[in-house]
């Protein structure tokens, strides 16, 4: 683990294709900005999110997971 001042968390966002993924696109159209260490995984619906997906991501080293839909 890096020292606190250089710590860069890796964040995974699971997003519904129809709403939250679209909202992330809109952030782009509006030229908003957010840190680059957020990466989004598209789901057909957040109903498809299994607890296993979250656990696997954390197990693989994600520092944070958010679900938006």
């Amino acid at each position: 683990m890096s020292p606190n001042d250089t710590f860069e968390p890796e964040i995974i966002g699971f997003a519904c294709h129809h709403c939250a993924f679209a909202a992330a696109d809109l952030a782009g159209s509006m030229r908003l900005s957010y840190p680059t260490n957020v990466k989004i995984v598209r789901l057909p619906c957040t109903g498809r999110l299994d607890i296993v997906h979250v656990l696997k991501a954390l197990e693989a080293g994600a520092d944070g997971v958010f679900v938006a839909g």
Binding site: H17, A22, G28, R31, P44, D50, K56
Partner: protein
Amino acid sequence: MSEDTSRRVGAALVVGGGIGGMQAALDLAESGVKVYLVERGPAIGGRMAQLDKTFPTNDCSTCTISPRLVECGRHPNIEIMVNAEVTALSGSPGDFTATILRKPTYVNQDLCNGCTACIEACVYKRAISEFNEGLSRRTAVHILYPQAVPLKAVIDPTTCLWLKNGKCVKTCMKACGMNAIDFDQQPVTVDVEVGAVVLAPGFNVYNAKLSEEFGYGRYANVLTAIEFERLLSASGPTRGHIARPSDQQEPKRIAFFQCVGSRDQNHKYCSSVCCMYATKEAMLAKEHVPGVDCQIFFMDVRAFGKGYDAFFERAKRQGVKFTRCRISSLKEVPATKELLVAYQDEDGELKKETFDLVILSVGMEPPKGAAELAKITGIELNTYGFCQTSPLNPVETTRPGVFVCGTFAEPKDISESVTQASGAAAAALQTIGSGRGTLVEEKVYPRELAVEGEEPRIGVFVCHCGNNIAGVVNVPNVVEYAKGLPGVVHAENIIYACAADSLKALPDKIKEHGLNRVVIASCTPRTHEPLFQDTLREAGLNPYLFEMANIRDQCSWVHSKEPEKATDKSRALVKMAVWRASTLEPIHETPLDLNHQALVIGGGVSGMTTALSLADQGFKVFLVEQEKQLGGNLLHLSSTIQGVDPQAHVEFLVKRVESSALIEVATGMKVAKVEGFVGAFKTTLVAVDSPIQRLIEHGVTIVATGAQEYRGGEYLLGQHPNVITQGDLEARLSENGSGVAGARSVVMVQCVGPWGEKEFYCSRICCGVAVKNALRLKRLNPSTRVHVLYKEMRTYGFKEELYTKAREEGVIFVRYEDANPPVVQATETGLRVEVAEPILGERLELDPDLVVLSEALVPRMDSGALAQILKVPQSREGFFLEAHIKLRPVDFSSEGVFLCGAAHYPKFAGECVVQASAAAGRAATVLTKQALTVGGVVAEVTPPKCTACLTCVRVCPFKVPIINAEGVAEINPAECRGCGICASECPAKAIEILHYKDRQIVAKTDAMLSRV
């Protein structure tokens, strides 16, 4: 309809690209009609695209409309013409020629890919943004809004420096990598042949400057509701931050003024939506600015739609204040720019309060250019300047073959506009008849290459998007990186992946490198995935062997200040896409036989209208009615609100139904059992009074079972002979008024219903019916005293005129409060009605000869049982519940099942007819298809793993999974929506969603986090 030998062109013209026009276009296109969708502005979407949220659910408007926009934009049967107007319409139903003037956009629409490079480069940045209602500025070359369809730039000639006075170095032209800017474009006139026309030009927002007393345009902090909507929007000028225009401070007190440009001397109608949108905006303001005080000044709260009263109550619970009054004056305090509002409250007391913001709830006017459009299309307008419609079929204009929908017909909300649009589409389909399917072509694709068992051979294409991506991200670096990823056999950069020449070259690249998976790193799959997937199909690859990495909208555009980190992220996103691509499998969609017959349940005006519409379109219909006779509730009606004879209309419908060769009527029967799914239903009908059964096979089901008048014992109903319902009064009035001859004084009591045991809902029609019958009583004998005791007078739309007329003719309207309802007592001589009059603060005592109760329309007693049989949901009130209150108002969430009429919610006969046509229009989109395509992203069960625990059966929102005869879960791909809830909940992991299998999802997170 004219004889079948006349020409039937299989195309339709839809004028106006708002939500109504879009719905009509989609329904027609889905039913095999070629559609020309003509929009005056630079993009479709209309007013709904400008809204932040929609009532009564406060759903995000953009989220709801965007998929429809995309669907319209990519539908092979829809040709969208923007910046265009209809200039002539000749011919007759089935065979019109429309002339369309396409004004120059100065951007070649075929070449432009919406990359926005020209917009960044444009030097004129002071043009008024129409989309943001003037609250922000835009460039001369612009895209109307971020989700616009078509997503193409247009140049506004009134502000472009080059077009205005030649004083620009044409920066846009230099910036455009596609050479799409074309200053030489000229107006073009095209003629199109169409079988029918649907007019959906929408409405014009009332110009609040004309209501000078409210200071709009003079006082900085007075805004219109549509402007406020833009302020609330996260993509609006303030990104959803509410600020006073005068000083950009957060407001502490906001006032909403209702009926600005409605219900006044110049607008003798109600705009129908303002009460609800103001309530919504007040609720949203409270969410945006915690603690803000919102006060709505109103005359009547017109919450007459499904779920609207509950929404109004919710707003009150959240602290929105409602004050019943008209405003006496509004003044700006010069020093603070606060607004001083003077009004008389209900107790007659003059009050003064200050507000930081005043929002004017502006009404709807006929659309700009309505008179000209009417002249061109040969239709008539009504006295208000809206489209003149046929009273019992409000989708019909005065010209046969030309139909209308949305607010051009009468002010209305989104769901009613969508309903009317589907109704207009059905009417157009009836006119087009045999022409359907003659002008649309199905695309033929080469045979699919078999890739099963092959090692992944992935091709990666990294798009520059001109400068959009390449200006931030080091594209060559990403390409080099991609080359080293496992399974990648080819990687290259591409200036515009979506340009026509790139798409043309892609199949060759696939062949050349033997690719069996394709990854494109560019923009968002929401807009571009279908395009690329189609190109894969042209190359013989299964479209599911494709993945996108969104390195523009979700990378270069949001990380433009960190180019190195953006490049790192692009690499990661490409890696994630490649890892997932390796796990992708082809998915085959299979055609399934479709039964082309419809079952209509209910033989009232709605059911008969649906049946006739479908039969006119050439589909066989079974119409089942529980009673011995067709006609339903309309049989008991003696006059409609527009003064049309309903009995003549019922007779006309029954005659047409009974003489139709395509409609089979089964009276005295009801539905006992339903099996199957869309395209293949099997329904058992059983006779009401005998054991006779019948099995019917059909492809779609339409529920049109109506509603019934509540007849509780309130106010001595059933105990005193002179206490009757509006329904009873209808019958008495039909006998030339002889039944009411002795009534010198009549009291009507509104809002009578089972409200002791049920939550109150507005029955929608009772105010209109009471006003209509009060006028009829007055007409029979002008000296009859009529009192209407009401809570809120909800004569929405043009019905407001009847309310005004009733008051002019001496009908006395007395408001009562919920807490203080009228009391009806029997006296020795007759009846005594007492009611507390809130304005005078006195108790009125009336001795009427007749008390007429406006009883609520309630769901039919047997609707719960039918809902169970059909496996469809009901609302809290017990009415059938549609799939989506705004955009799918006549569909059930189960595919192939539709609803219409009072079974959905109480409504007037004309509204039932519109909804019935709409249900027929929606049903036709299914029945038109030769076969159903089944499969794609759907659930798949692995039977040996299933333990029949019923979890999937419980969690599926669409009630699709069943436990079959083998004792394992079965999920019909024809019904599955692919949401994946069952797969995620299955404890035995026996269910997977194709294309979103666990390993296909985890591949992405693994890729992101692996250091390899």
